[in-house]
């Protein structure tokens, strides 16, 4: 397969970026999107050009390190799929593919397609945990938890922290990310004690970090690689007002 890639190049955080054309040929449909970029980089390196910087690590959709905007969509054309598990068979031979970094005020570009997502860690630091001491805890089976509660908590806990929800939101809101953590811990009995305080802290931190407001367009849940539903945002809003 052959493609024309239009890739965002930006040498450093302060530098001005621009889209640069890279024609690429002989791409196998079985290649992952990142393997296609690897192939491009190998040819750039041997031809004395600067390779494209992009984030990636596990390449199996679970670490959340990868993520670019492909043809205007976070993580590319497939719904609920991370960039690393997207394959070239999802494109047509001859396509022009626009590749840009995740865009959000809270995610400054570091270089080319890499952005700084440490704001997501800051939200968790502000209270996204159960304050149990390590090492000691009551017997695991002493508190039965219903199957529904655990499955519901898992649906939210599955978040990989990639930031696609932020990148796909027109307001660059981190509501889905924040709601997922609030909802995960709120649905478990262990998380109840600190629940109100946690909800207030996480929502306030999210606002302070420059993320926008949620306007319920639902764009985020379409891109979320873990199928996290915006119903969690409704839960967060309800709990925030109650707190």
């Amino acid at each position: 397969m052959n493609f024309l890639l239009k890739i965002w190049r930006q040498p450093s955080p302060k530098a001005k970026g621009k889209l640069v054309d890279y024609p690429i040929s002989e791409i196998s449909p079985d290649m992952s999107f990142l393997e296609m970029l690897d192939t491009l980089n190998e040819s750039l390196i041997v031809n004395d050009q600067e390779p494209v910087a992009y984030d990636h690590d596990c390449r199996e959709g679970i670490c959340g390190q990868c993520g670019v905007v492909i043809n205007g969509r976070a993580h590319g054309p497939l719904a609920n799929t991370s960039t690393c598990t997207l394959h070239m068979r999802s494109f047509n031979d001859g396509d022009t593919i626009y590749i840009e970094p995740f865009r959000a005020e809270a995610f400054p570009v570091k270089k080319d397609l890499k952005v700084d997502r440490s704001a997501l860690d800051k939200i968790i630091i502000s209270g996204g945990y159960i304050s149990v001491r390590t090492g000691q805890a009551p017997e695991a089976n002493s508190i039965p938890i219903s199957n529904e509660a655990v499955e519901g908590a898992f649906d939210a806990a599955a978040c990989i922290g990639c930031g696609a929800c932020v990148a796909s939101c027109k307001n660059a809101s981190a509501a889905l990310f924040t709601a997922a953590k609030i909802s995960h811990l709120a649905q478990l009995p262990q998380g109840q004690v600190e629940h109100k305080k946690r909800t207030r802290q996480l929502v306030q931190t999210m606002d302070e970090l420059g993320f926008g407001a949620c306007s319920n367009t639902g764009a985020c849940e379409v891109e979320c690689p873990q199928h996290i539903s915006i119903a969690h945002i409704a839960l967060m809003n309800r709990e925030y007002w109650k707190s």
Binding site: S12, S28, D30, M31, L34, E35, D38, E42, I45, V46, D48, E50, P51, A53, H56, D57, C58, R59, E60, G61, C63, G64, Q65, T81, T85, H87, K110, K111, K114, R117, S118, L120, D121, I124, I125, S126, G128, Y129, I130, V132, R133, T134, G135, A137, P138, E139, A140, N141, I143, P144, I145, S146, N147, V150, A153, F154, A157, A158, G161, Q190
Partner: protein
């Protein structure tokens, strides 16, 4: 070369097996609570072992700094573990006990690990489940609300706790959140996008590290009273592996070059259920959880040259080779045995798939018995993942799977206190060689990482700190050892970026991986290993003369990052081959073709090789030091799963 003059102290406490850990805890020194904030601890790596250790030590009151190369501690590769975590809770009332778990693990490791370490692992396993549940880990539950379990390879009880197919992710988030809580409290300073490039040893003790900021290229010094390496495994040395692209062996190798011994570096677990390679462009081999073997049946066509599609091959023309060869464990035979059996069939020409390099993992019978919904509930996300990557619906046709490099049983040698041979340098989790022997049982890696971090290091590291003398409490990066280490690193990165050769780093890495798969992978021979050492030496020379790294070292430079890792891999690879060459027996993952039974099973040699091969670094080749293994409680037997 042998260096028998060094005598290794494993520091295993006296007394009966069941009491050794209590004995240690009873006698361990403590640092008084008011003094703890005066001690600094560096933790490198923030996976399950690193995060749990850092959170625990910070909570005790020590000043902790963490370093990871990822952009968030939550992304460390523990996150990718799928199937589960073992614990001897006996919730199923199926005959499990701490002793049985200890025995299964030591037998699974082919009697090549220390009894005391393995017993402690089983002993602490139950607490971990309590801890994780309290942190909010959503383990699977029965309709009664109580915790559920499943079986894993190499055991006959159900002791594996799981959170769908994302157990590693959920446990890591628990540990990461505990760590973030300490960041919030000001007890941990977290350095992301930082890679450790060297260990600093002064006055015979580990005193700090040199790191490179991967975003800016800045090189800085950090001093501490103790350094903990929790940097995971180095299976990525094979290039194609189940590991993340950034996983590496650099931290442990740099520590090794500063004097820490390694142990059994060639013992690499080749995981039987991974997605097969489909072309030369491939960058990794994705793991499909071993838990699939609970319900999936593994087979290849019984006839050579079979060209019907899997669905059209009738039962009588299928060879369920694991069920045939190992009737009592069947598809749940341990990983080393399952991988080797797959290789045997593939090499004999029965492989399936486009490159004839795979076997079938078939859910036809499970779907018949449990319904599609039943299978989906257990493995839904794994089937989804399979479809995303291969484009194939595994509810309708069998999965194609193939063995791939996965876990490093070998690593830095540690004693019972998880201390390396450099005082003040500890190694935990996959980075050490300790509990798994020559083959790790499924769902024991998450366990070991957590147990090291939550339960063992919080006792043993303070024990070390409390024994430091008055002068040793002063810390400074302004000393010669730091100057020298930093100079070395600066000149090394400069040299790498100025080679300006013609081949990319990945190109060298792929070549190295191929050598290791061919000669130091699933099966090894004396002549093959000798040939591999020669090839690795040549490749190393070529690398340093012909590698091409664009850009400079004082900025973000992904190629330089990779080059530093591959430079170390080239040296580790050589030692792996030396390790495999000197072990004239087959045990666990180490299969020497010269040492096998007439049926093709591994032939262990307890009279000559019941020892841990420990290696001391030498420029002209490594020196072997033996730590004899003593079995007082179990009798090493032939490891039969028939």
């Amino acid at each position: 070369m042998e260096a028998s003059s060094i005598h290794l102290q494993s520091k295993i406490p006296e007394g009966p097996l069941e009491e050794k850990w209590s004995t240690f805890k009873k006698n361990a020194r403590l640092v008084s609570p008011t003094n703890r904030s005066k001690y600094k601890v560096i933790v490198v790596g923030t996976g399950l072992a690193g995060s749990s250790a850092a959170a625990s030590l910070a909570e005790m009151g020590f000043e902790v700094s963490t370093f990871c190369f990822q952009d968030s501690p939550r992304r460390a590769h523990s996150v990718a573990a799928q199937g589960g975590v073992n614990a001897a809770k006996n919730y199923q009332n199926d005959g499990d006990s701490v002793y049985r778990m200890f025995y299964d693990t030591i037998k699974g490791g082919d009697f090549r690990s220390r009894e005391a370490n393995v017993y402690r692992l089983a002993e602490c396993s139950g607490h971990l489940i309590d801890q994780a549940v309290a942190q909010g880990v959503p383990f699977a539950r029965e309709y009664s609300g109580y915790l559920n379990n499943r079986s894993f390879g190499g055991v006959q009880v159900s002791r594996t706790f799981y959170a769908r197919g994302q157990t590693g992710q959920q446990l890591l988030l628990g540990a990461y959140q505990a760590l973030m809580r300490q960041v919030h409290l000001g007890k941990v300073s977290s350095h992301t996008r930082h890679e450790m490039l060297d260990l600093v040893v002064a006055n015979g003790k580990a005193q700090g590290i040199i790191v490179r900021n991967l975003d800016t290229g800045e090189i800085t010094r950090h001093a501490a009273h103790a350094v903990v390496l929790a940097t995971g495994g180095f299976g990525k040395i094979f290039y194609l592996s189940t590991l993340a692209m950034g996983c590496n062996g650099s931290a442990i190798w740099r520590a090794h070059k500063k004097g820490a011994l390694t142990a059994c570096p060639s013992w690499t677990q080749i995981h039987p259920t991974c997605l097969p390679q489909s072309g030369t462009h491939q960058s990794k081999l994705t793991l499909m959880s071993e838990s699939l073997r609970n319900d999936g049946r593994i087979w290849v066509p019984a006839k050579l040259g079979e060209n019907r599609s899997a669905k059209d091959i009738p039962e009588e023309d299928r060879d369920y080779y694991l069920e045939r060869r190992y009737p009592s464990y069947g598809n749940l035979a341990p990983r080393d045995i399952s991988s080797r059996a797959a290789k045997e069939r593939i090499d004999a020409g029965y492989g399936v798939g486009a490159m004839k390099n795979a076997v079938y993992l078939d859910f036809k019978d499970a779907i018949l018995n449990q319904g599609k919904a039943g299978v989906k509930k257990k493995y839904g996300n794994l089937f989804d993942m399979y479809q995303k990557i291969t484009g194939v619906n595994a509810y309708e046709q069998p999965m194609l799977i193939s063995p791939a490099a996965h876990f490093s049983m070998g690593g830095l040698w540690v004693d019972y206190e998880l201390s390396t041979t450099i005082p003040g340098l500890f190694a935990i989790g996959e980075a050490n060689f300790a509990d798994h022997g020559a083959n790790r049982l499924g769902a024991n890696s998450l366990l070991q990482a957590c147990v090291d971090g939550y339960y063992i290091l919080p006792y043993t590291l303070p024990h070390y700190l409390a024994g430091l003398g008055k002068d040793e409490k002063k810390l400074s990066t302004d000393q010669e050892a730091f100057d020298l280490a930093e100079q070395d690193i600066r000149s090394e990165v400069k040299r790498l970026t100025s080679v300006n050769g013609s081949r990319t780093v990945d190109d060298f890495h792929r070549s190295l991986g191929k050598i290791l798969y061919d000669f130091c992978g699933l099966s090894r021979t004396e002549s093959g290993l000798a040939e591999a050492i020669q090839k690795i030496n040549d490749l190393k020379d070529a690398f340093h003369q012909d590698v091409r790294i664009p850009g400079s070292s004082d900025q973000m430079n992904d190629e330089l990052e990779k080059a530093c890792r591959v430079a170390d891999y080239l040296e580790i690879a050589r030692q792996m081959c030396e390790d495999a060459l000197t072990r004239h027996e087959s045990c666990g993952a180490h299969f020497r073709e010269e040492y096998q039974t007439p049926e093709g099973e591994a032939e262990r040699n307890d009279s000559e090789f019941a020892f841990i091969s420990c290696w001391k670094y030498g420029k002209e080749g490594s020196q072997l030091i033996r730590e004899p293994l003593q079995f007082d409680y179990v009798k090493p037997t032939e490891r039969s799963y028939k």
